[in-house]
């Protein structure tokens, strides 16, 4: 499969995530769009790791080039899990204080 197809797919997914983060006011939806962007980047990392493997396995059949990319995806997932737990705790605290999940209430942080 040509690598361009994967790049276009991931760019489209990432842009959908950006549009969602810019247009919605519900904090939880914004957070979910950030998760969507994480996943687009993860898919692109895996596709690139297989691209480098395809280039390297022409000369060496038992090559393991590209396993670093897949491990980075693993670490991104780990960090995303930690980030979600803290972020949802912050959202619950916001909801408890303002009784709303409107992201514009976070403007009050500047005073």
């Amino acid at each position: 499969m040509p690598i361009q197809y994967y790049i276009y797919l991931c760019l489209a997914l990432f842009s959908i995530g950006i549009i969602g983060a810019l247009t919605r006011r519900n904090v939880i939806i914004v957070f979910m769009c950030i998760e969507l962007m994480f996943n687009a980047v993860n898919l692109l990392l895996v596709a690139f790791s297989k691209m480098h493997l395809a280039a390297a396995s022409i000369s060496d059949k038992a090559s393991t080039v590209g396993s670093d990319g897949q491990l980075f995806v693993f670490f991104i997932m780990v960090v995303a899990a930690a980030e979600v737990s803290v972020g949802l705790a912050i959202i619950v605290m916001l909801f408890r204080n303002t009784h709303s999940v409107d992201i514009n209430f976070l403007n009050r942080l500047k005073n």
Partner: protein, 167 residues
């Protein structure tokens, strides 16, 4: 058209459609469920790329753990669609236009790239994505980041408990 291509285009269409439905849905619970569909489509892509470990981890961690956490929070807050705040139309239009400009710039960049021409991602073969190989690399070359990750998890857990408790 081979089976791989048919599967690729089907999974891509499914991922894009369900990702758009995440934005379009008014009800947050529906958004979460569409996001789960997106994650399953991306896991299908991982399987297509023969990255089986990441496919399973993606389903378990993202679709299993993180999305259930989102559902818990949404149902805890009892959010329904009546009281959901909306941005005004011009802000939405500006957001869509800026996202579209971003997409356009990057797509034109990729189209012009000479380096990416005739590069192929290896599908349905190549065994670097199997647990055996990834585990060997993880515990040989990436032991220190793996251990630091455990400290990160501990601090995230403590932070979530401290912020979540009633004060």
């Amino acid at each position: 058209m081979s089976t791989t291509e048919i599967l690729f285009f089907f999974l891509s269409a499914l991922a894009l459609f369900s990702a758009s439905m995440v934005l379009i849905s008014k009800n947050p619970v529906h958004s979460v469920l569409w996001l789960v569909v997106t994650f399953f489509a991306i896991s299908g892509h991982y399987i297509l790329l023969n990255a089986q470990f990441l496919a399973i981890v993606n389903i378990i961690v993202y679709a299993g753990a993180i999305m259930v956490l989102f559902l818990f929070v949404i149902m805890l807050m009892n959010l329904n669609q009546q009281n959901e705040p909306q941005k005004n139309l011009w802000m939405k239009l500006a957001g869509v236009i800026s996202g579209g400009c971003f997409l356009m710039v990057l797509v034109s960049l990729v189209r012009q790239s000479l380096d990416l021409k005739s590069k192929v991602a290896m599908t349905t073969s190549g065994d670097i994505g199997l647990i055996k190989n990834l585990g060997r690399v993880l515990f040989n070359d990436y032991v220190v980041p793996f251990e630091i990750t455990s400290v990160l998890f501990l601090s995230a857990m403590v932070g979530a408990i401290v912020m979540g408790k009633k004060d």
